[in-house]
Subunit: 403 residues, 2 copies
């Protein structure tokens, strides 16, 4: 197999840890696989370099920031390559540029536009392990660029796609994706497999592991993604396309989001375009809307509830007050003490009764549901924040996720 | 004028010093000049990275060492560019590759093969200061290379040559080239101008400032080189072609080398090829020969004296012993307590009596001269080491270098 292995900042945090990474790559090689490694900068290095730049200005040129930061991954790549060679594995490091990674010119958050896999193929054909500096590429103007947060994961996924690798392993300090947050429900189990779409909906469960941007790219490029720990030998979680998962569980996991606040609007003048007006003005003021629920109106008025990040609640209130002043909304209320509990599973597409079971479970615990929103593979409920953990544990058990 | 300014590791040793460099570049810009800056890694950085590599092996791959080390100059270049931009001077950093510096593939001591000045010209045409990562280039295989010791100076000289710059200023912690070592002769004066050839012969006086490799390249490319201090505003020393120096002094400087040891061979069988045999075998054993003096033989035998670095004296003795065993040499003696005093000046080409004055000076001080060797612009004498300082001071005064 051809395997892309990506190691993040903590996994290469010091010289000993880089040696551990070399050992792990060596194991994979000894199993007869070809390996392409993608590395981040040693943890702390990127922040150190940024603080250097901030010695001169709070607004350094983005292209210069990229020149500065891209050095961190180069160092790790060279060191890992040296360690591998010292163990007898011929290895060659490559910058993003040498690995053929071409991006747009949006410095500090560039998007990968194309990858020319030939230079990597050439080195692989010479029997070498390739060690690539993640997080970086080169613009068509020839300037080094960086890919923003989670950039090394993106590098790894894009490289796996370009090389049509069999597997793209993302190593972190977490050993996979769990059915729910184990700090809330100790019975949470590590999933063996999960589909791209489920992973995207369960973002909060994988927040420490994978950004949605990487999962989306993996889905687009059809890359089999595995998240696993660089500190244990435990199998990780495979994120793959739905067809590759033989037995679809009804529900895969329960996610919890305590970061939202609820805005409730009552007596909203029910004219065509009112929703568009409200949400356009909110978007123009950079307020991110998560859930939106509208119920049927009467007497020419309607009710509308939505959630926003707690940090953006004040901004949202200002906008809503404008509509109140304009007479388009008669009542409004705000609630910060809420949370969002979500049940995710591709299985619910073809099964009925999944939602009913969720509502029964909440009723049995006497938890009042304030808002409901459903999609093809997700049911989200807004409940009082005090019920957050109880909701998660009850649902986890109701869908037998602990077995 | 178009000026290339090169700042070494101590000049960019911390964030404050990089700000000082930015201030100096700013001054030059405000005088109406165009500036291309070449920077080294922050002092200590290269050694730190090398020690990282040595954590894994004493013999890291040279190409990986280049990948590793080249990051240091990139960081400095980006930081200086950020500092300049923050001061309102549009600046752009460039790696060696982007600056068009192509080298051979001899990693860790590559030689510059060509420079495409177009990318630099383009940025200059846009009114920008260019900040180039010194010490590095790219091989025709697309791999980053480094130029070895003194590499950033070479980068600066080569860039000045390619851009046909008016001046190439090398900033260090020393403010120029002195007529002799000021620690030996406090009356030593800083020279205003000196020719390339004199500088090459006075290498020991400039040892802390410039390597011969850079002076040779400057001579070849006809680059006006200035060495000056980054910590003072004092004018430095201009190293230029002979024609640019209006009044040629008879003697420019006095150099001292305490690193040599003397080997004296007596009763050497005077057959054709004997010198070749001896010095070839020494070279094959990596013994570096400096001075060689042979005097006319008689009775089919001759005498031959030469000097070698003190650290290579034992190796030289072993080779000589072989010739003694083979019956080709009958006597040999070794002396570590010697030194070499050299008088350098292009003026001596067209003036007689320079050598005579040197011998008179030594005679007046009762210093015995053991060996003499002369070239067009240099007279070297081997004397007992205890007379080293006395010789230098006497000669410095005899040629009125203190005035």
């Amino acid at each position: 197999m051809l395997i892309v292995q990506k190691f993040g900042g903590t996994s290469v945090g010091d010289l000993e840890r880089i040696q551990n990474v070399a050992n792990r790559v060596s194991q994979t090689l000894k199993q007869g696989h070809q390996v392409v490694v993608v590395v981040s900068a040693m943890s702390g290095e990127t922040n150190k370099l940024l603080s250097f730049a901030e010695h001169y200005t709070q607004t350094p040129e983005r292209s210069e920031v990229d020149m500065l930061l891209s050095s961190g991954e180069r160092v790790t790549a060279a060191l890992l390559s040296i360690a591998l060679n010292a163990m007898g594995h011929p290895a060659a490091s490559m910058s993003g540029r040498r690995a053929g990674i071409v991006t747009d010119s949006v410095h500090t958050k560039a998007r990968i536009e194309s990858i020319d896999p030939q230079p990597m193929r050439d080195e692989l054909a010479h029997g070498k392990v390739i060690v690539i500096a993640g997080f970086q590429g080169v613009s068509d103007k020839g300037q080094v660029t960086t890919l923003g947060r989670g950039g090394s994961d993106l590098s790894a996924v894009a490289i796996a796609g370009a090389l049509e690798a069999d597997l793209c392993e993302i190593y972190t300090d977490v050993d996979g994706i769990y059915t729910t947050d184990p700090r809330i429900e100790p019975k949470a189990r590590k999933m063996e497999k999960i589909s791209y779409d489920e992973m995207l909906e369960l973002a909060s469960l994988g927040a420490k592991v994978l950004q949605n941007r990487s999962v989306e790219l993996a889905k687009k490029l059809n890359v089999n993604l595995v998240t696993r720990s660089s500190f244990t030998n435990a199998e990780g979680t495979l994120i793959t396309k739905e067809e590759n998962i033989m037995e679809q569980p009804l529900v895969s996991g329960i996610a919890l989001d305590k970061n939202q606040a609820r805005v409730s609007l009552g007596g909203v003048i029910d004219r065509p375009g009112i929703a568009s007006d409200i949400f356009t003005r909110l978007a123009d003021n950079s307020v991110n809307i998560d859930m939106i629920v509208q119920t049927l109106g009467h007497d020419g008025k309607t009710n509308m509830d939505f959630t926003v990040p707690k940090t953006e609640l004040l901004d949202a209130q200002k906008i809503v007050d404008q509509f109140v002043a304009e007479g388009e909304i008669s009542e409004c209320s705000y609630d910060e003490n809420i949370c969002k509990v979500s049940i995710v599973g591709v299985g619910m597409k073809s099964h009925t009764g999944v939602a009913a079971k969720a509502f029964q479970t909440m009723a049995l615990e006497n938890i009042n549901i304030m808002m409901i929103s459903t999609s093809e593979i997700k049911i989200s409920m807004i409940v009082a924040e005090k019920y957050a953990e109880l909701s998660v544990r009850s649902l986890h058990s109701a869908y037998s996720l602990d077995r």
